[in-house]
Symmetry: C3
Amino acid sequence: MYNPQLTSDGKLKHLLSIEGLPKKVLLQILDKAESFVSVSDRDVKKVPLLHGKTVCNIFFENSTRTRTTFEIAAKRLSADVINLNVNTSSQSKGEAIIDTVNNLIAMQADMFVVRHSQSGAAHLIAKHVPDNISVINAGDGRHSHPTQGLLDVFTIRKYKPDMHNLRVALVGDILHSRVARSEIHALTTLGVPEIRVIAPKTLLPNEVEKLGVHVYHDMKEGLKDVDVVMMLRLQNERMSGAMLPSTQEFFKTYGLTPEKLALAKPDAIVMHPGPMNRGVEIDSRVADSDQAVILPQVTYGIAVRMAVMSMLAGGEA
Amino acid sequence: MYNPQLTSDGKLKHLLSIEGLPKKVLLQILDKAESFVSVSDRDVKKVPLLHGKTVCNIFFENSTRTRTTFEIAAKRLSADVINLNVNTSSQSKGEAIIDTVNNLIAMQADMFVVRHSQSGAAHLIAKHVPDNISVINAGDGRHSHPTQGLLDVFTIRKYKPDMHNLRVALVGDILHSRVARSEIHALTTLGVPEIRVIAPKTLLPNEVEKLGVHVYHDMKEGLKDVDVVMMLRLQNERMSGAMLPSTQEFFKTYGLTPEKLALAKPDAIVMHPGPMNRGVEIDSRVADSDQAVILPQVTYGIAVRMAVMSMLAGGEA
Amino acid sequence: MYNPQLTSDGKLKHLLSIEGLPKKVLLQILDKAESFVSVSDRDVKKVPLLHGKTVCNIFFENSTRTRTTFEIAAKRLSADVINLNVNTSSQSKGEAIIDTVNNLIAMQADMFVVRHSQSGAAHLIAKHVPDNISVINAGDGRHSHPTQGLLDVFTIRKYKPDMHNLRVALVGDILHSRVARSEIHALTTLGVPEIRVIAPKTLLPNEVEKLGVHVYHDMKEGLKDVDVVMMLRLQNERMSGAMLPSTQEFFKTYGLTPEKLALAKPDAIVMHPGPMNRGVEIDSRVADSDQAVILPQVTYGIAVRMAVMSMLAGGEA
């Protein structure tokens, strides 16, 4: 079967979604990322792997935070980085996505990091570019955000290396999360035997059980004896209509407090993709506790992005 | 006669407009650009010619697209690039253009790439800067946009090397185009014997014939047997009042369709400075056809900008 | 006494305000800056002192001008620079300052250049960061803007090396100036015997005399026989209410004209932190005269920022 993310001999060509990544490639990325964790720790945080390459951050949707992680990763690989916020410029002149991309191809960019509010935008671009250009999906609508999924499983593996014996719970706005689906797929691929989703019915996609997860509506039941609690961000900006009574009400029922966390295993870790809504989906006492690995997630996110970029640029896995 | 663009011994000092560039210098730029076409093709797309130099993109008028081409060109020459969108910052504090420029001079910048909505802004700045600083006009009002003109003649020369036997037609909004005048001047200088402009009367400057061009109001006549069709962008944002009936009407009369293009020579090339208004001045079937060299124009634009920057920085021609 | 700006063995750790900098460290910065003046004069304006380091310009308040000086200084030291305008992104998603900073710490940035409209923001961040990260205050509310203060005393020392025999006058909006307080402190520390402030009562802070300055309300008296005239910018945007009759009225009384300047010593220098309001606090005939050292201030500002950054990064003083 044709897989746009892989070359004919099975190497990573684009990173569009975790769905479709063979377990072997997924593990290659995680192992490669291990080697980059130390680079950012060094005094000179640079390796010359992408020297003389041009990486374009094409952000059709603004996200300083995500753009910064890719910019730092690319610069630590010695690439030249061009940032483009497209909404404010050529788009307003009526230029279509593909014309924008065609221009950047003609400027001989080597890699596109794409963020767009529409699902499938990165796939569309990947299908369009010539062989020598790679595309990384940095978030498309509510569809996918694969580097976030990768850094999450990297973090889990760091803290809980025996993934075949884990119970993982995803909590909150599963419906609007670009991360949840990637996450579930990656965890399943890596052999995690029990994945739970905990959310009100209004924040769950239809037929979520088909992904192989256990559904809970009650946090006290769902968190029982889990090893990993992955909180999701309440995507206020992506919600239309009155799916929720109020954020206070949400916090009462689905916000992670120390009391609720006490039901998980004593050494359970707490994750969050950021930025956190403190007091909405997570209590500050949890966010700032020793069980939280939210900031290590950010650190590992740089290493994972460096790994993906270097593999796409032809670095040995 | 004093020419602000040249040093006393005839070398390029600023690039402000194609008018005033001797044929010899124009050819030097084109020849130098040839040598840079291959740099962007290489695996390591960098040469150290501007290492340790500071290039400031001073954009008084926003243009992500143009800014990106200069940023990529400067970075491939190893310069440090500083991007300044001036409208949103010090200008609103009442600082005049010259005070902004004085500050950047004091910061010991080496090169200014200037875009401004007022004609003559780049000339004003060039007159003001000290000897060691070069100014490149990246578009001033409807006056000039010389690197666009240069990349256009570079592209024509690539596809139609025998310029002494060419028939070139410029089509559309000649009046508001910053490019048309530069173009006509460059083509004349390089010996193109027949230049046509095709446009409604309302989109032609007064006394356009004095530039040595043949005026047509009917595309079918004007396109007949031409070698090069240069479409111009319909500058909606620069038009005030009702010069045009409607964009559909415009497309019907002056939009380039395969049918109209069939009147040109069979191997005619189609150019457009971008971004295209598909369905306004150009039909997608033409824009995406084999006759279109619109994307090569972008590619050559990087090489031309690298050539200009390296010559201004004192690189051998 | 604990001083957050110094390490336990007295080296510069953060630059938050000039208050609290021992004279020895202040002189180290000025001497170090001397060595960087020549770097920006060279053909290759780069030294590798911060190669492989990541400098984040975190601007909670927009200032292209200040951001540019830090960006140029960091790039001339070979650092990788990441620019973040925080107001438009994660802040609007409800992320607090500390969460933003925590994320950048997790990305293993090495240095934060912080600008914020609230006094104390840089101190707050400095208190929060781990040992290996340095914070530079690039302006916090009306509190402090230490690199501006440092470049000012550097400039004075350049033109008037015998600081023990100087009469310096600060003129204008002392109340809203982030610079005035730093200035007065630095000048006192460096042994300047007579510092005057000249302003209407409404633009003076309470008990300004306690800083050891002489207060004048009349420019003609205050400028008499001074060696240095430091004009302050009229901070329109920071003034609430009707403290001033009008800018014309202000110019008449406190604007620096050639006539008023004639009362100072014949070789007096005129300084201004920029951007100037010509015709409000300063007459163009003064701003553009030989006595003005306003542009050299900008030049020295790059050298001073390079000095501070290299000392913070562990360069020898």
